[in-house]
Amino acid sequence: MKEAVKLGDMSRPGRTPLAHLENEDLMRLPPPLEDPSKYHNWTALAPHTREKYECGLDDTCALNLPQPQTKEEEAQLVAKFLSGLEKLFTRENNWTFLQPLLLTMEHCAKCQTCSEACHIYEASGRNELYRPTFRSEVLRRLYFQYVKHGGLLSSLQHGAIQLNWPLVARLAELSYRCNLCRRCAQTCPIGADNGLVAHELRKLFSQEMGIAAKELHDTGSMLQLKAGSSTGMNAEVVKDNIRFIDEDTSEKTGIQVETPWDVEGADILLIHNAGEILAWPENPGAFALILNAAGVKWTLSSELAGYDSINYGLWYDDAQFARVALKHAQAARKLGVRKIVLAECGHAHKALSVIADRVLLGDLSIPRESSMTLLRDIVMSGRLGLDPDRNDFPVTLHDPCNLVRLMGVVEPQREILRKICPRFREMEPHGVDNYCCGGGSGFAIMSGNNFPDWRFHVSGRKKLEQILNAFADCLDPSVPKYLCAPCSNCKGQFRDMLAYYNLWEKNRILYGGLVELIVNAMTDVRPGYIEWEWH
């Protein structure tokens, strides 16, 4: 049996990884993936990556944090970390989350109740490194030593840990081994939040040291603030793409679809995750068709960031978060819409509806609504002709954490599915007790080095188990199956993970959004909106 990683190992000199997983270590999966010897082997990190970057945590590397070249450089980085640590506990720098962070630091009972709730810990074969409390306990000890300036008595009371560069480098990586799904926090008897700790660590690294996953920062929030979208699409390109989507949708459905742009005084500003426009165009096409058919007065915005609901700052940086949220609200204010509706993107829902709520003051406080709620209203109102027989195939529903556990939008999507999908079945557990898809907190778009191996073997594993169990009675490839995931990031994770395990080819498990199912059931539309092709 492998020896469990100890907290003190985080400070171990050198860059030998603290943890290594083999396929046999991982949580077992149900059929058809019950044999671990048939899983993909892990891609080893390239030698030049190990030589150049800090890869001393585990089998992968999310950040590509360059190795310092001298002891002086290491010392400077540790000093910067300490400076950020202190700021994390001051009102001026971190009023945004100081209260929950401080309470979590000072009152975790270390009872490990949260561990069993964590899909990453369980899927890893309960590897100590991935316990929700592991990174929290490291931060807690640093907090009492360096922020509270505790002496010997404090060390005895709270435990001690050696602060050095290896620890800082490993902690930076470890903050990107959590999906921030907060399932752990849900089970904490005291209310402590280890998901928040990972969030706050990411903030410390980004806001003080300029360290963040490049997919979230450079090609994420920075690109969005520069071009208007993290996809790189500017307003002209996005309009062109939507025009093509309208044409395709019209041709495919037999119903003329036209997406309205920048309509002042519209009832609704709809904001898509712009990734949908490029990767899953049938989703914005279906939205346009449904809203037009229902007689809704809606519009898209071509303002900077007004056509891309993503807000990656939610996962790593308060300033970037606030900047993007502001852009979204300003786009709505400019058009004078009555409300903003978030299309199928979980983190965009939570970012703009919940987290930004306290800072969108005055005329920026424009009501935000979930598309799940709006769609339920439309479907139940009878404004669309719907034939459930068109959806006569097994359907299961994934609950995006940000939409469900963290925002409480649980039933509307279910009511729709129960009405239009006669073979709908739940995953277990579901609703607010759901498991993350494994792509949460940015992982779905993080594909550097061998990170996808970790994503599909570890962070997505529990969800994969749920999907296979939900379809256990119909795994035969003669039965097409639909995994409904009303969230772009979750879909990105499913696209990659289902392909990784070959579950479309072998078992005909397809994934897609909710609106595609609605259009597929619409009687006015030519049959076959869902094409049962891998995409």
Partner: protein, 311 residues
């Protein structure tokens, strides 16, 4: 000797009250944070609370009156406080020990309250306490006290055993955790032993309580009981200085964080407070933040780093 014991008890109680209040005030005075609720939120309308839903499930929710279901909160809070419901649900093995420990402490807290009533009654209404009422109170505080001490000791011993032997807990156990549990066992053990072995001349619980209220130093307190009282008083004063004061933290963690779903637009006070926070001047050093100690959060949020100085 007795006077010293009284002094330590008074000090222990005083430290407990002052430290608890200071801790609560410290947490209450922290800036209100961004919303970070976690569903289910039990004060949602009952129909939605059942599945963990929120008002976001209601079309045009901001146009509808918001109903806060306090009964729903009580339905969650009471079993949580009394029976540690979350621990029972998610960590049954630990719950067996922790529940016994905590319920023992609740019984001891009840004992103190009963003793205070009995002592005040004895001093102010001696005739009333001399008869049936006094006998009932005596039976109650004796039973709750002894049961409480035994349960808390057994629970603490079980928790200590787990801390020392369970590999899931050992990695995270600091010397202070061992000390805390040992402190409970020692203090409550000495109190229980001192009370049971005090001998015919030793004071009962009521006599000690009356003595404390009257500062009657003529009461002789035997050695073991003295040790128990001193340790107990030190323990009472020590608890709010440590993470064991989670009975205070829990209020904030549940009500102010997990269940705080108040829409900003519906609270002028929240809007006022957050407008104030946006004038704070951060000093984060990363270039893209563009903080220099002079610019406010509002300035920073309004800056686009891809076109401004932070690029």
């Amino acid at each position: 000797m007795t006077a010293s014991i009284y002094g330590i008890i008074y000090a222990g109680v005083l430290v407990f009250v002052v430290a608890s209040v200071l801790r609560a005030v410290r947490y209450a005075k922290l800036p209100a944070h961004l919303r970070w609720e976690l569903y289910p939120v039990p004060h949602e309308e009952a129909e939605r609370a059942r599945h963990g839903g929120s008002y976001f499930e209601v079309p045009d929710w901001w146009t509808k009156p918001r109903k806060v279901n306090f009964a729903g909160e009580l339905k969650v809070m009471i079993p949580e406080m009394l029976f540690l419901k979350a621990l029972r649900e998610f960590n049954r093995k630990l719950w067996y020990r922790s529940f016994v420990f905590h319920f023992g402490l609740y019984l001891l807290a009840g004992t103190i309250a009963l003793l205070a009533v009995a002592a005040l009654g004895t001093i102010l209404l001696p005739s009333l306490l001399a008869g049936f009422v006094g006998a009932v109170l005596h039976t109650l505080y004796t039973a709750t006290g002894l049961c409480g001490a035994v349960m808390a000791i057994i629970g603490a011993a079980g928790l200590l055993h787990d801390r020392l032997s369970d590999p899931n807990l050992k990695n995270y156990t600091a010397p202070g955790d061992i000390f805390n549990l040992a402190f409970f066992i020692a203090a409550l053990g000495a109190l229980a032993a001192g009370y049971l072995l005090r001998g015919p001349g030793g004071p009962g619980a009521l006599a000690l309580a009356c003595g404390l209220l009257r500062f009657d130093t003529a009461i002789p307190v035997p050695g073991v009981l003295s040790a128990g009282l001193v340790l107990g008083a030190l323990l009472v004063g020590y608890i709010p200085l440590t993470h064991m004061s989670h009975f205070i933290a829990k209020y904030f963690l549940y009500h102010n964080i997990r269940w705080d779903d108040l829409p900003t637009a519906q609270s002028a006070e929240i809007q006022r407070r957050f407008a104030g926070y946006l004038t704070f001047r951060p000093t984060w050093a990363a270039r893209h933040i563009g903080a220099d100690g002079a610019r406010t959060w509002a300035d920073i949020a309004a800056t686009n780093p891809s076109v401004g100085a932070g690029k």
